[in-house]
Amino acid sequence: MTLRWPALVPPRAAGAFAAAVAALAALPALLDLSAYTHNLVTLTFLMVAGALAWNWMGGFVGQVSFGHAAMFGVGGFVAARLLLAGAVPAPIAWLLGGAAAGVFALGAHPTLRLRGPYFSIATIGLGEATRLLFTYWEDFTGGSSGLSLPIDPDLKFRLYWWGLALVALVAAASFLIRRSALGLQLLAIKADVDAAADVGVSATFHQDLVFALSGAVVGVTGGLWASYFSFIEPNDMFGFDRSIGFVLMAVIGGVGTVLGPALGAVIFVLLRQYLLASYPQLYLGLYGTLLVLIILFEPLGLTGLLLRLWRRAARRPEPAPAAAGGGR
């Protein structure tokens, strides 16, 4: 199997992408953002990166993981420990945390041959077992008391750009993976594992690869998260709610699309802020209803909705359903 990168990354897309990243990088200076907004956007970047990475597994390969918080937590605590030991600068700590999370993800290897809901259920089991074990492992995670990092306002401020860099990398990776032969191989596995195996696409190898990468990125996100809050505790980091968050973001935005989860993450964060301010009593029900509506009417989430509107606006005929979006 060879990873063939596209000979030419489409110039228009690359240009638009670079422009967007530059715009976001300049945003704080351009708009004189309040500290609150600056921080909110930083958090959004982290969520976006996590959702995009989750989507590699959940959308591209089609294996919905309900246990990604495990990697998030591992990455976060490894990075936090390294930072507390003062051993390495922050970015290295985050990368090492990510690497640890990626290796940890490989531990799920035996479950990767399960399909559909069985894989998902297995990930729930893995996620919860991880949470309990790491909460018990007080020496490493601080147990229920968690770990406190020294506060570093400079680093917190600069996390905006670190987060943006992470998002840019992950978004670019998503785009490239999808357009590459690897993406096709993943699609093949998603559509029909056995047929894919028949044509020489090894499900095991590819799933391991993607799961490890996905886990590693989510682990890096965890590290940045730890630096942001200067305090992490296992029940929060490894919690089922966090795993569900990744799933929700990707589904709302569009599971399986290239950048849909990014949109989903943004909406998720904004919606949360808005709902908490105005209708705190209803936000669970609203998410639930949104989820139900999306599954029933527009499985590609907001991306699918936007695609439909785009087509209608451009007066293009709708392609046959089988060719739409990311296939099933």
Binding site: L27, A35, G146
Partner: protein, 421 residues
Amino acid sequence: MRNGIHLGSLQPMLLATALLASAGLPSAASSAEARTRIAVGATLPLTGSEARVGGFFKEGYDLAFEEVNRAGGLEVGGKKLPVALTLLDDTSTQATAVSLADRLVSSDGVDFLLGTYSSHLVEAQSTVAEQYRVPYVNGGGGATKIYRRGFKYLFGAISPVELLGTTLMTWIDEQQKAGKLPRPSRIALLWENTAHGKDFRKGVSDFVAKSGGAYVIAVDESFALDGKDFGALLGKVKAENVDLFLADAHLPDYITMHRQYVGAGLCHKVVSYGARGSEKGAIEALGRENVDYVLSGVWWSAELGNRPGPSRTFVEAFKARYGGRSPEWFQALAYESARALFAAIRQAGAVDREAVRKKLAEMKVDSLLPGGRLEFPAAYGQQAQNAFVVQQNQPDGSSPIVFPKDVAGAPGVAANPRCAR
């Protein structure tokens, strides 16, 4: 794949637009002149798993704010300014609590912060306060760890949970010295694996370590929250033949565990569930006769209102405001944290964060808390060290204080009479 390209360019721009839109949120704009009020911000779990306690804290805050505003407000710079509370719902989630604190300070422009409930939220939120140099007074985060970070702007009106364990053991020690409990006494120490439970356990085990062999911890086990079955754990306790049963659990686990405890026919000379025991809800769920003689250690009790003093004033004001209902320690701590902040503002005479911070650090005021005084000693990271009061459920339905002596309403009963059946 043409659509893919369009999608590729559409998405980042959408992202940018969405973020730009959210950037349109108002930035902080608090003018120094023409100040019409003092703005205090806080978050509380008003929905979510801790909503019950969040609601109680809100009651305490509301009462304090109403009282001070009824008197016209706080006197600063020669005139009286009303105090306004902006209260947001943090749903007991760390990220939300931090974001909202951020927003309160940098977007809504509050002058001071009051705390939320539960140690891990306070720990996370206090980093925001420290970063922005905003005095943050809380009555909801008892873990000592929070106050060991050298923060200058964080003040805890809530005594460390370890002290709860220590206080219980002190009362138990008195009983042992009076010959009512065996020496050595075997202890079963069961604790919920949360920051609260860990600290409780530390308080007890530290005391035992210094007791010179008067106690032996025969069982030392943590359990996961919201357990369904404590049969095995209680079986272990039974097998170890202990004298004292000391557990720390939050309400649902207390109910489940104690039901099984009673159902299993267990009975020990001393039974305690940490801060639990006297709640009405629990008594209803378990049955009056099953919680007899259970000891609980709390930061404050309405029983303290039985004697004249600030507690009584508080209890009466609370009952008047909330339809005859009695307050518990949640409302008292919230009320007291707000009042401490008000006192500091009054003493500073200005809505100036540094001045108020200094006054809080030096504070020594009368308080309804046990001991009668409230301070934030620097030696303890600015966490109050007020004693706990120990209550014991009596068969007649009351829960008088049995320790410390000076506020006790009844002598405590050791060697649980329930076991004599």
